[in-house]
C-alpha cells in the first residue's frame, strides 16, 4: 500500500522522460539516439543540433508543460465542482482566452501579443465568473457552475462572431488555435513556474481536497475552512488553465480524462493523484504533439485532434476494465 504511489510516480517519470527523448529524436531531420545523446551532452552536431535545441526542445517543453497544467487544472476543477464531468474549460476560462487570441489574430498581432491577449482574456473571464458567482455571499457549487457555463456560452457566441467576420486567410490559424496547436510554441518559462507552483500547492492542500470530495459539511466539521479553500482552488485552477491555453490554445480532452485515468487505476489520494496527473497529462500531450507533426509530415495537425484520438480508446479501455470504480456492481 505505501510503496504503490512511489512505483506509480516513478513509472510516470520514466514515461515522461521516454516521451521527451522520442519527441526530441523524431522529425524531418533524422536524429538517432546516439546523436541525440551527443546533442544533449552539449555537442554541436550542426543542423541536427540546432533543430533539436531551437525547435524541438522548446516545443516539447511547451507540450509537456501545457499538458501538465491542463491535467492539474482539470483535477482541481473536478473537486471544486464535485463533478467528474468538469474540465478546465467548463467555467469559461478558455472562452475568454480564445476571444483574446482571436482578436489579436484578427488584428494581425502575433507572438507575445497573442499570448498576452489569451492570458488577459482568461483572467478577465475568471474575474467575471468569480464576481458573478458570489451573489449575496453564497458561493454554491451549482451557482458557480451555472455562472461559468453561461459565461462560457457567451464567449462561444463571441468566438463564432469573430470567426464569421474574419477574412478567410486568418481562419486557418484561428481554427488551429481553437483546436490547440503548439506550432508557435516557445520555451514555456512562465508556464513552468506556474506549473511548479500549482503542483506544490496541490500537494499541500491534497488532504483537504480528499475531504472536500466527501462534501462541504463533512469538510467543515473536520476543521477545514471551506469557502477560502474553494476560492483558492478556483483561482489556482483558473490560473493554471490560463497559463496552459496561453501556451497551446484550447487543447481539449486532456484536462477531463487524465485525472479519471488515474482514478480508474485506483489512485484516489489527491496528494498522489494531482502530481501523477501532471506527469501523465504532460506525457500524453507530448506524445500527441510528436505524432501531430509526424503522421502527415510535412503537414502538421493541431495537437488537440491527436490528444482525443489517443485518449478516447485508452480511456474507454480503462473505464471498461475498472467498472466498479464509478458505481457499477462488483
Amino acid at each position: 500500500m505505501s510503496e504503490r504511489p512511489f512505483i506509480l510516480l516513478l513509472s510516470l517519470i520514466l514515461l515522461a522522460i521516454g516521451s521527451l527523448l522520442v519527441s526530441l529524436a523524431t522529425g524531418s531531420v533524422e536524429t538517432n539516439f546516439r546523436e541525440l545523446a551527443g546533442i544533449l551532452l552539449g555537442d554541436d552536431q550542426g543542423l541536427a543540433g540546432r533543430v533539436v535545441r531551437e525547435l524541438r526542445w522548446p516545443r516539447a517543453a511547451a507540450a509537456f508543460v501545457s499538458g501538465g497544467l491542463l491535467s492539474l487544472a482539470g483535477g482541481l476543477m473536478q473537486v471544486l465542482l464535485r463533478n467528474p464531468l468538469a474540465d478546465p474549460y467548463v467555467l469559461g476560462v478558455s472562452g475568454g482566452a480564445a476571444t483574446g487570441a482571436l482578436l489579436s489574430l484578427l488584428l494581425g498581432l502575433g507572438g507575445l501579443w497573442l499570448h498576452g491577449a489569451a492570458f488577459g482574456g482568461a483572467l478577465l473571464s475568471m474575474l467575471i465568473v468569480f464576481g458573478l458567482a458570489h451573489g449575496r455571499g453564497s458561493w454554491t457549487v451549482s451557482r458557480l457552475l451555472l455562472t461559468g457555463i453561461v459565461i462560457a456560452a457567451g464567449w462561444g457566441a463571441v468566438i463564432s462572431f469573430l470567426l464569421a467576420v474574419s477574412p478567410a486567410q486568418d481562419l486557418r490559424g484561428m481554427l488551429f488555435w481553437l483546436m490547440g496547436d503548439l506550432g508557435y510554441a516557445t520555451l514555456p518559462r512562465a508556464g513552468s513556474i506556474v506549473l511548479l507552483g500549482g503542483v506544490l500547492l496541490a500537494v499541500g492542500m491534497g488532504r483537504s481536497l480528499n475531504i472536500l470530495a466527501h462534501g462541504e459539511l463533512t469538510a467543515a466539521s473536520l476543521g477545514i475552512r471551506v469557502l477560502p479553500l474553494r476560492r483558492l482552488i478556483y483561482v489556482a485552477a483558473s490560473l493554471l488553465t490560463a497559463a496552459a491555453v496561453t501556451i497551446a490554445g484550447n487543447v481539449g480532452f486532456v484536462g477531463l480524462v487524465v485525472p479519471h485515468m488515474l482514478r480508474l487505476q485506483g489512485v484516489r489520494d489527491h496528494r498522489i493523484l494531482l502530481p501523477a496527473a501532471v506527469l501523465l497529462g504532460g506525457s500524453l500531450l507530448l506524445i500527441a504533439d510528436t505524432l501531430s507533426r509526424t503522421v502527415l509530415a510535412p503537414r502538421q495537425l493541431p495537437v488537440g485532434i491527436l490528444t482525443a484520438l489517443i485518449g478516447v480508446p485508452v480511456f474507454l479501455y480503462l473505464l471498461n476494465r475498472g467498472r466498479t470504480q464509478y458505481g457499477g456492481s462488483e
Binding site: M205, R207, N210, I224, Y326
Partner: protein
C-alpha cells in the same frame, strides 16, 4: 464540567424559530437527544452547536472558551459531527474515508501514520466494517455507508460527538449496536453525545437527557422523567401516543391520526 454550553441561544432559519434564549449545558457522561417534528430545526440547531452556523443570538462555549473565537481546526479536535447524509463525489476506499477523521490532528504536509491507521482500523471494527477496508465507498449500501460515517467520527475521537440521526438506514441489529457503542463511549470514556433522533423508544433507552423542540422557539429539556411525558410528547408531535409497559420502561406507540386535517392511517 460542562463541555458545551449554550447561553441564551437563539436560532432561526428562514421563517422558522428553532429556539429562543436557550440555556443548555452538555456535561461529560451525558448523552442528549434532540426530538422534534420535521422542519423544526433539529439539524440547524445541531450545526449551530457544531459552530457551522452563526446563531441569531447568544453564545456557545466549548470547553470554557467561546466556540466562535476558536480556530476551526481546534474546534474539530474537540467536537465532531455526523452529518444527516453522505455526499461522496469521487471513489475512495473505506479505509481512506475513515482516515479523514484524523485531519484536524495532522499538519498540512503530514501523512497519516501507522498510529492513525490503527485507530481507523479499530473504529471500523467497532462498527462491524473490519472486512471492508479496501472496498470502494460507491459499492456500500446505505447502512454500511452510515456505519462508515460513524467510524470516521470515532477515528476523529472528539470529546463531544454530535450525530444527526445516527440510526438512519441501519437495520435493527445495527441500530442497537451503534447506540450501545455510543452509550459505552459516554459511560466508560466520559464522552458527551448530542444526537437527533426520531425513534422515541430508542432515544429513551440510550440517552439520559432530552431536548424537545416544540416549535415557535419553545423548548423543553430534562431527564426522561421530566420531559418524556405523554402530554409533552403528544404536543411535540401533534399526534396521539400510547404508553405501554416494556422491559426497559414505557414503550411509546403512535395512535391513529385523528386530528382534523391529519392523514388517517390506512
Amino acid at each position: 464540567m460542562a463541555r458545551l454550553q449554550a447561553q441564551a441561544l437563539t436560532v432561526r432559519i428562514g421563517e422558522v424559530q428553532v429556539c429562543r434564549e436557550l440555556d443548555l449545558q452538555v456535561r461529560e457522561g451525558e448523552s442528549w437527544c434532540i426530538l422534534g417534528r420535521n422542519g423544526t430545526g433539529k439539524t440547524t440547531l445541531l450545526h449551530t452547536l457544531a459552530g457551522l452556523r452563526t446563531p441569531a443570538g447568544g453564545n456557545i462555549i466549548l470547553n470554557d472558551r467561546s466556540l466562535a473565537a476558536q480556530p476551526r481546526r481546534a474546534v474539530a479536535r474537540q467536537l465532531g459531527l455526523l452529518a444527516q447524509d453522505h455526499r461522496d463525489s469521487f471513489p475512495a476506499s473505506v479505509m481512506e474515508t475513515a482516515l479523514i477523521g484524523r485531519h484536524p490532528f495532522l499538519g498540512p504536509l503530514q501523512w497519516e501514520s501507522h498510529q492513525d491507521r490503527r485507530s481507523a482500523r479499530r473504529a471500523l471494527r467497532a462498527v462491524d466494517l473490519q472486512d471492508f477496508e479496501q472496498r470502494n465507498i460507491a459499492t456500500l449500501s446505505g447502512g454500511e455507508r452510515r456505519r462508515l460515517g460513524i467510524a470516521t467520527l470515532l477515528t476523529q475521537d472528539p470529546g463531544l460527538l454530535l450525530l444527526d440521526e445516527p440510526t438512519n438506514h441501519l437495520d435493527v441489529h445495527h441500530q442497537v449496536h451503534i447506540l450501545e457503542l455510543l452509550q459505552r463511549k459516554v459511560k466508560e470514556a466520559g464522552k458527551s453525545v448530542v444526537m437527533v433522533m426520531h425513534d422515541i423508544n430508542l432515544a429513551a433507552r440510550y440517552c439520559n437527557r432530552f431536548l424537545l423542540l416544540l416549535g415557535e422557539g419553545r423548548t423543553a429539556r430534562g431527564s426522561a422523567a421530566d420531559v418524556l411525558t405523554r402530554e409533552l410528547l403528544e404536543a411535540l408531535y401533534a399526534h396521539p401516543l400510547e404508553a405501554i409497559a416494556g422491559p426497559h420502561g414505557p414503550v411509546w406507540l403512535p395512535g391513529k391520526a385523528t386530528r382534523p386535517g391529519g392523514r388517517s392511517t390506512p
